[in-house]
């Protein structure tokens, strides 16, 4: 049975969720039940030469924790004036909680991150602590106590902040985005080429250089290969590049007018893709060199965008016109048990599995005019879905970050096609690209 939440009801439930009520949003399902921790983060002080870099450190630390989407960040305007730097600074009054000035109103924090930076012979030494404030003893409260050694400069301060934030995030079971990369299409050089950048938009550089049309990338699970659709031989065919160094791998395309939209199997050994070998595009599988070609789907419609469930290599979602306009379907990897996931209204495309293997992101025009795409999130088992964007331009190609909380997508909301990230609840919206037109991102570990 397909159930759908109306937007106002969703908003009400989201608000309820924020106050640790039982989750009804699908996003709530994803990030786990029990409510988000309310985290307070002090302004770390630095001694000696370290003092000059604390502004950078504190800004990076707070931002990383906020953007993780794991926490309800307690506003600094309510903090007590006396901020602890080490466990010695705590003076439990002898009640149920060691620091009611932090865990009670107005701060109401459940956890406190604090520490300081020392200058030890020119090395930036960071002391970082995480306390669970709902404990009655300092010993019981200590969740993390770590030391980090960095270079005595802004880069070192920033790095220390990233590492401490990652450790806090990992403690709460969240994945980190540090080191992850986004592959995308950019035409800023005059032709549509493969590009790559860090998760936060830094270090953008070009990967393919054939001055043709290169579109629709997919990255292997280990991040070592990017497969995409290229016109360098005149017609859309599949190319595979090594991400470290850009060397082209050999892939034997079937002799068809279109071979496109490749996607890797979870073990990285197979490629699923769309091919017009039999007439209309259908779903095929081969090894990553093109051997063992096997036809998967069997219809007379255009079918494309196969995506393998990361938790179940025998299950695919894909896009098909077999019931009319393009819709998102699911089937087994042997082509059997085909079911339509979207309800047939509008047009649906760009499905992407969540790392949990139970949810998908996709683009849909439901509720809007043709071409007016929005990002949706669906629980596959129940078919319940949430609408994550609301016609701020066209919003397409949503892809989960490895942390399963962030997503990257393409949007023309700024007036040109650019790449944006956000948390699945719509917060932490960040624009990553500016030059040229940029689209079709995929996120790799």
């Amino acid at each position: 049975m397909i159930q759908r939440l109306s937007v106002p009801l969703l908003a009400l439930l989201s608000a309820a969720f924020m106050h640790a009520q039982p989750q009804a949003t699908i996003y709530g399902d994803i990030i786990g039940k029990g409510g988000r921790p309310k985290l307070a983060v002090t302004d770390f002080k630095g001694a000696g030469a370290a003092a000059a870099f604390m502004s950078t450190f504190n800004g990076t630390l707070f931002s990383d924790l906020q953007k993780s989407g794991l926490f309800d960040m307690a506003s600094k305007s309510y903090y007590p004036t006396a901020q602890p730097q080490s466990p010695n600074d705590f003076h439990p009054p002898g009640g149920a909680e060691i620091a009611p000035e932090w865990s009670g109103p107005p701060v109401n924090a459940s956890h406190l991150a604090f520490g300081y930076a020392a200058d030890q012979g020119g090395t930036f030494v960071l002391y970082g602590y995480l306390f669970d404030l709902h404990q009655s003893t300092i010993q019981g409260a200590q969740a993390l106590a770590k030391r980090y050694f960095e270079t005595m400069n802004d880069d070192g301060a920033r790095k220390g902040a990233h590492e401490f934030a990652n450790d806090i995030i990992a403690f709460f079971g969240g994945g980190s985005l540090t080191g992850t990369k986004i592959y995308f299409v950019s035409n800023r050089g005059g032709s549509e080429e493969m590009w790559v950048m860090d998760y936060d938009g830094s270090n953008q550089h070009q990967l393919s250089h054939n001055r043709g049309i290169n579109i629709m990338p997919a990255v292997s699970p280990d991040g070592s290969l990017v497969a995409f659709t290229s016109y360098r031989h005149g017609r859309p065919q599949i190319d595979i590049l090594e991400t470290a160094g850009g060397r082209l791998r050999t892939f034997l395309n079937p002799d068809a007018s279109v071979n496109a939209n490749p996607a890797f199997s979870p073990d990285g050994r197979f490629l699923y893709f769309a091919s017009s070998l039999a007439g209309p595009e259908q779903i095929y599988r081969s090894t990553i060199t093109g051997g063992g070609l096997t036809r998967i789907s069997h219809s007379k419609a255009v079918e494309t965008e196969p995506k393998v469930n990361p938790k179940n290599p025998n299950q695919l979602v894909f896009v098909s016109g077999r019931t009319g306009p393009e819709q998102v379907f699911m089937m087994n990897s042997d082509g059997l048990d085909v079911e339509r996931l979207t309800d047939g209204t509008g047009e649906a495309s760009n499905p992407c599995w969540h790392p949990d293997g139970q949810h998908i992101l996709f683009s849909w025009t439901r509720g809007y005019a043709k071409g007016d795409w929005n990002v949706f999130l669906m629980d596959v088992a129940s078919r319940r879905y949430d609408q994550l964007t609301h016609s701020e331009g066209r919003n397409e190609n949503p892809v989960w970050a490895p942390d399963g909380r962030h997503l990257v997508f393409g949007s023309n909301r700024s007036g040109s096609y650019q790449i944006w990230t956000m948390l699945a609840d719509g917060t932490a919206l960040t624009r990553l690209t500016n030059l040229g037109q940029n689209k079709q991102p995929v996120w790799s570990k």
Binding site: P236, T304, G371
Partner: protein
């Protein structure tokens, strides 16, 4: 010998005839004058008494259209040889001959004997029927120029059906293509498939491919060689316009032709 010329002989005969009439009864019958003895030598043949004469030399009708026939007629006397030019040659002293001149022609008949020769003319006017001016030889246009004459075929949304206006365009294109391949036997032509910008780029790659294939199949059924047409889908990657209007959307939903490698 008594040499009498014809006049003298006739005189004697007249005199004798008169005597015969007046002296019928007892007149003594005068002995008949001796018949004139033919003399040998010239003027012995009563027919050959002068130079050849072309009694008549005509052609009918005197005006014909090219391809029609006319008849020469002639009658000649006192000739031992009658010749007509324009390849007709030696003929009898009288007769007729059918001729089919390609252009206005004057025939000359020459009659001759030992007494001389004479000739006469007969002219046939040949008209050319009014016809379209002969076409200037077809200038062979350049390859790109000829491709420029190929019309696009347009499609409905999310469809690759070749609707009737597209059939009209492709039917004209079939003729143009055959001419192109006759002029440039080693050429290939690309049939491109395009979509408007509203569907997803991924699905439109497939839909553009369907459109290119449908256009190609239609052309092949009209006799355009299949191996000279290559299909390429551009999905929505190469629009001809970018306005968000129905008119622009339709202009993009097309099969289009371009030069092959």
């Amino acid at each position: 010998m008594l040499k009498m010329n014809s006049r003298g002989a006739i005189g004697v005969m007249v005199m004798m005839a008169a005597l015969a009439v007046g002296c019928k009864k007892n007149a003594p019958v005068a002995p008949a004058a001796p018949a004139p003895v033919p003399t040998t030598g010239e003027n012995t043949n009563p027919g050959s008494m002068g130079r050849p004469t072309i009694v008549s030399f005509t052609v009918e009708p005197t005006t014909v259209e090219r391809g029609q026939s006319a008849t020469l007629k002639w009658s000649v006397t006192n000739a031992t040889s009658v010749i007509i030019d324009h390849g007709i040659g030696s003929v009898d002293v009288s007769g007729q001959r059918t001729v089919v001149p390609a252009d206005s022609t004057t025939y000359i008949l020459t009659a001759s004997s030992e007494n001389g020769s004479t000739s006469a003319r007969a002219t046939v006017n040949v008209t050319v029927p009014a016809e379209a001016p002969e076409k200037a030889p077809r200038a062979k246009e350049g390859f790109e120029q000829q491709i420029g004459h190929l019309q696009d075929a347009y499609f409905d949304y999310d469809s690759n059906d070749v609707r009737s206006d597209a059939q009209t365009a492709l039917t004209a294109d079939a003729a143009t293509l055959k001419q192109i391949f006759a002029d440039f036997p080693s050429a290939t032509i690309i049939v491109e498939g395009h979509c408007d910008e509203r569907g997803s780029a991924e699905y439109n790659l497939g839909l553009g491919d369907r459109r290119a294939s449908a256009a190609k199949d239609f052309l092949v059924q009209l006799g355009v060689p299949s191996d000279k047409l290559k299909t390429v889908s551009y999905g929505k990657e190469r629009p001809v316009c970018t306005e968000a209007t129905e008119d622009c959307y339709q202009r993009n939903r097309r099969a289009h032709f371009s030069a092959g490698q």
